[in-house]
Amino acid sequence: MKVAVTVMLKDGVLDPQGRAIGQALTTLGFGGIGEVRAGKLIELELAETDPERARARATEMARRLLANPVIESFSVHIPTEA
C-alpha cells in the first residue's frame, strides 16, 4: 500500500527556497503571488493492507527520520487509486 508523507518547514521558519521560487515566478510575469513555501513529498510503498496501520507506521517513520521536528512538520495521507 502506498503512503505519502508531506514534509514542510514549520510556520515561522524562514524558507529562503520558497521565497526564491516566488521571486522567480514574479519575474516570469505571474502576478499576485503571496508567500511560497517549498517542501518534500515522500512516497512509501509499505507491506500493509490496513490503511490505519500503514498511516501509523508512516507517522512513526516521519517522527524518527523523515522530518526533523525542530524545523519541520509533516502530514501523512494515503493516495486514492486513480
Binding site: 524562514l14 529562503p16 527556497q17 527520520l65 524545523i71
Partner: protein, 230 residues
C-alpha cells in the same frame, strides 16, 4: 590522549582534520569507519565536514542514524569529548546531541570564504588557549549553516553559556553583514550542557599552519591537547 575521526561516506574534510590533530596533538588520530561501534580508548571523537550520504533528505540526517552514532552518543553520555565541524555539526543536531538545526543559508548561496568568529567563553576544553571575546579568522564552506532553534532554546543556550562562537566582523562586533548565513543570534557554534560536545560550522582545522595561510584555528586543537594530556 587519543582522537578518532569518524568517516562517513561522502565526508571530504577528514584529512584536513587529521593533519590538524596530528600537528597539535603529536599523535595521529584513528580514522573510524561509520560501521564501527567499538570506540574504546578514544578520548575525543571528531565528526568532520563534507557531505555525508550525499546530504540526502537533510544534511546529516542519514549519518545521524548510522551504526557508529550509537557509540558516539554513548561516548557523549559518559562525558567524552565530541567535536563536530560543518557537516559534523549538522550530524550532531540531527542525532539530538546538540539542540537546534541548520537551515539553508539565508541568502541561498553556498558560502566558501573566510569569516570572523568571536570566542564567547574561554573556560572550556575547546577554547582555553583563547581569551573570552577574542576574534579569530576561520574558513567556512557550507550551504546549510543557518543555525536555528526556537526562542526558548536560544534563550536557554545563551543563559547557560552554551554559545561557543558567534559570527562577527573583524572588530568583534555582531552585525547583519557579518552574520553571513543568517544564523539565529549570529550563532556559529554551540556546546552541550556539559560543554564537552561542541559543534560549529566554520573550519578551524584549515588554519593550523602558516603554510595554509595562518594559524588562527590552532588554539582549538592546542586547547584540546592541553586539556586531554593533563
Amino acid at each position: 590522549m587519543r582522537a578518532g575521526i569518524v568517516v562517513f561516506p561522502g565526508i571530504n574534510r577528514e584529512r584536513d582534520m587529521a593533519i590538524a590533530i596530528e600537528s597539535c596533538f603529536g599523535q595521529a588520530p584513528r580514522l573510524v569507519w561509520h560501521h564501527e561501534t567499538d570506540l574504546a580508548g578514544l578520548d575525543l571523537l571528531v565528526l568532520p565536514g563534507g557531505f555525508s550520504y550525499g546530504d540526502y533528505l537533510r544534511c546529516g540526517a542519514m549519518a545521524a542514524h548510522s551504526p557508529v552514532m550509537g557509540a558516539v552518543a554513548a561516548h557523549a553520555r559518559r562525558g567524552g569529548y565530541v567535536l563536530g565541524v560543518c557537516n559534523g555539526f549538522q550530524i550532531l543536531t540531527e542525532a539530538g546531541l546538540l539542540p537546534g538545526a541548520l537551515l539553508r543559508n539565508a541568502g541561498l548561496r553556498f558560502l566558501s570564504m573566510d569569516c570572523f568568529l568571536r570566542v564567547e567563553r574561554a573556560d572550556t576544553v575547546f577554547t582555553s588557549r583563547w581569551a573570552a571575546g577574542e576574534v579569530f579568522r576561520a574558513p567556512m564552506a557550507h550551504g546549510d549553516g543557518n543555525y536555528t532553534a526556537d526562542a526558548d532554546t536560544l534563550d536557554r543556550l545563551e543563559g547557560e553559556g552554551r554559545v561557543a562562537f558567534r559570527y562577527v566582523d573583524a572588530d568583534g562586533k555582531t552585525s547583519a553583514a557579518a552574520n553571513l548565513n543568517g544564523s539565529a543570534r549570529a550563532i556559529a557554534g554551540i556546546y552541550s550542557d556539559n560543554a564537552r560536545v561542541l559543534g560549529l560550522m566554520p573550519h578551524p582545522e584549515d588554519l593550523v599552519d602558516p603554510l595554509l595561510g595562518g594559524v588562527d584555528g590552532r588554539p582549538l586543537f592546542d586547547s584540546l591537547a592541553a586539556a586531554l594530556v593533563a
